[in-house]
Amino acid sequence: MTIRLYVPKDACAIACGADEVAAAIEAAALKRRVPVEIVRTGSRGMLWLEPLVEVGTAEGRIGYGPVSADDVEALVEAGLFEGGAHELRIGRPEDHPFMARQTRLTFARCGIVDPASYSDYCAMGGYKGLERALALGPVEIIEEVRKSGLRGRGGAGFPTAIKWKTVADAKADRKYIVCNADEGDSGTFADRMIMEGDPFQLIEGMTIAGIAVGATKGFVYTRSEYPHAIWAMQKAIDIARAHGMLGVNIAGSQYSFDMEVRMGAGAYVCGEETALLDSLEGGRGTVRAKPPLPAHKGLFQKPTVINNVLSLVAVPHILADGAQKYADFGMGRSRGTMPIQIAGNVKHGGLFETAFGIPLGELINDIGGGTASGRPVKAAQVGGPLGAYVPPWQFDLPFDYEAFAAKDALIGHGGIVVFDETADMAKMARFAMEFCAAESCGKCTPCRIGSTRGMELMDRIMRRERLDANIAVLTDLCHTMKLGSLCALGGFTPYPVMSALTHFPEDFGVTPRKLEAAE
């Protein structure tokens, strides 16, 4: 009987040697004349265990990780093909505490299915959402999304249904669905994992959006830094088209929808939705002033839904299982689940999907296992380069849009980057300004000039020159950038800077008491 093995082809697994491991398993099986089939899946999200090899047994799939190519011979000797004992054996991946504690909706299939298999996707509930969407029709689809309480997962948390309704109500000869997959935040990789591990889900979500608002064309705009995701997404689009799930009269219905993958070119600001639209059109990725909203005048001046990957992939679940079931997860106005990404200097980094409301400290210390270096945690940056540095004494903060906003922080795209005590927070504040200066689109002055002045100020502060005066100017500059910038790049760069200064004044050479006096 052919033994079925599963080796991820997620970029993270490949970067940790998964291709070499797959080749070594094949060679070891050939040597022993054991017939094996190696299925290349996405990643389960337990990234510290990558490459995580699984073998199909009578008790289900048994995992081993992290496996290196050098381990393979010993593993096979120990009975890898039968799920035998070995120090790398973790048992059934779904029983692992990291997995068992999650609520997986968006990531239910990721790491289990072959991302290029249409039948795998359908066998695990795929296209059930589209089926119901086709039965409901546009008005009811939007009503379901509204009832689910789904908010944009890109960072702003804007209610998805309102965007959709605006586009649906707009009159135009052509409308677009644009998926923002320009996942540039450090510490985030959920979009990448979905595109590599379960790309049909994004196709299904975009198709439903298209039906809901009357759009016939979709674009996935993603990053040149994500070649594996582009490849996987492209392949899935071709397969979906071959199955009649994209193109004219999808699934035999009256609706038509097709899509393309487009690649950015290393500009972080293109993750901002209007800059992304300009880039898609073939221009510099500069931010547009709003209004007009993209929902009225978006891509090529046509009404456009622009949603994050994670928002769009939540849609098939909402439709398939009903809005109420989705809305039952979460807290306050943050409904449903959030795929949280735990990264940086952390022991158990990975993708943890859970209902909103989980305390930050539980994610970092309990689930993440604290720092990889073993030193105490100094801070965690939540929400990417524009997110605040949260100190351990605020780790009781629940993962919720409003709770974070109340503490001058943001959850953004759900990335958490953990830093240990060796981190110099003044240096991190300087980096925030430097990054903003490098990535500013240049359209508005507070961001374009402010970031460079901020960098210079940080240099002076780090040299301890006229400390009080320079910190006062820095604080004032941050205030101007926050209120005067056109988009979140200039507007949120003050978050990491000011949170670093507020919580770790000693790294800036001032005592906490002195800082209060300066304010």
Binding site: A11, C12, A15, C16, L47, W48, E50, E183, G184, D185, S186, G187, T188, F189, R192, K217, R223, S224, E225, Y226, P227, E260, R262, M263, G264, A265, G266, A267, Y268, S279, L280, E281, G282, G283, R284, G285, L299, F300, Q341, I342, A343, G344, N345, V346, G349, G350, L351, A372, Q381, P385, G415, V417, V418, F419, D420, A423, M428, F431, F435, C441
Partner: protein
């Protein structure tokens, strides 16, 4: 090691013409040109301007806006080191210093012998297994000084 074609106006025309049917074709065209020649040669700018009925200044503005587009060929190998926060938290600063020292050039520069271009990159999305690097499109995570030395040796060979 990537193989690029020598500059040829006819070839550039061919690459451009293959993509004119797209909606918003400029970015795909620039990527295709760079994939063909290894950089975006200056003579392409007026060709694109004419094809898309835009001014040269507009095309130039787009080419220079994006970090990815090269204005001259890179070294034979390109080593990109992730310099974003997650990799910094996991020791990326020391690795970047080490690479600069070993190669004798700064991030963003090419070694004197033209073999290696070393560049910063802001996030490969491998943040849970940081620090990360990319050598000619091949991604490597859990980078250590020893692994970096191996990559550098490979690039220099």
């Amino acid at each position: 090691m990537p193989h690029y074609e020598p500059w040829s106006e006819a070839r550039a025309r061919e690459v451009i013409n293959e993509l004119v049917h797209l909606e918003g074709p400029l970015m795909p065209m620039l990527h295709a040109i760079q994939e063909t020649f290894g950089y975006v040669p200056e003579p392409v700018v007026p060709m694109l301007a004419e094809t898309l009925n835009q001014s040269r200044a507009e095309i130039h503005g787009v080419v220079t806006f994006y970090h990815d587009f090269r204005h001259e060929p890179a070294g034979r190998h390109v080593l990109k080191l992730c310099r974003a926060e997650a990799c910094q938290a996991a020791g990326g600063d020391a690795l970047a210093d080490h690479a600069e020292q070993r190669l004798g050039c700064k991030l963003g520069e090419t070694t004197a012998d033209g073999r290696v271009t070393v560049e910063p990159i802001y996030c490969l999305g491998l943040c849970a297994t940081a620090p990360s690097a990319m050598l000619d499109g091949r991604i490597v995570a859990r980078l250590t000084e020893r692994r970096l030395d191996n990559l550098i040796a490979e690039a220099q060979s």
